[in-house]
Symmetry: C2
Subunit: 100 residues, 2 copies
């Protein structure tokens, strides 16, 4: 079942754009791991926050991706840019009004 | 600029699945209005909540869609299913690691 993971990542003040650049760096291994969509963005009302919206083939595919060496290395590399504040939610996708 | 709108809709207790069915009913006018993605789902950890993740061609397209007669009628029809609790966030998409 398609799984959605939507979240906010707090950035160290002044490091938001660097964190965005890190997150949008091309990572084809994510698609191989079952990532269907991974959109990264900002909202200037919250200038120290990065937003992500992800879709995965399953919750298990998402969990397993966090164990990939490339993903672990990427998380380690991002750590100095993160304030430690995280938010968001996850859900199982049941459908879309854009599909019949 | 692609715009993401991600949110939670509180359902009247016992009405969650009816609200999901309402939200995923095929609505081709959304695509015509600039909706690129509209995923609806649930998380059994929050049994009275429906989750949505939307992508639009722009924030303006999203705003304008709320004025469409079909969308206004749909919102009015959903109102008895809604508890009145809403959450979530919106952001401007800057990129994706799935794209070069």
């Amino acid at each position: 079942m398609t799984y959605a993971n939507v979240g906010t990542l707090g950035a160290v003040p002044g490091k938001r754009d660097e964190l965005v650049a890190h997150l949008i760096r091309s990572s084809p291994e994510l698609a191989d791991a079952g990532c269907l969509l991974y959109e990264v963005g900002v909202n200037d009302d919250q200038p120290d926050t990065v937003f992500v919206a992800e879709l995965w083939t399953s919750a298990e595919a998402h969990r397993a991706s966090l164990e990939l060496p490339e993903v672990k290395a990427s998380i380690a590399e991002a750590r100095p840019l993160l304030s430690g504040e995280f938010g968001g939610f996850a859900f199982d996708v049941l459908g879309s009004p854009l599909r019949d």
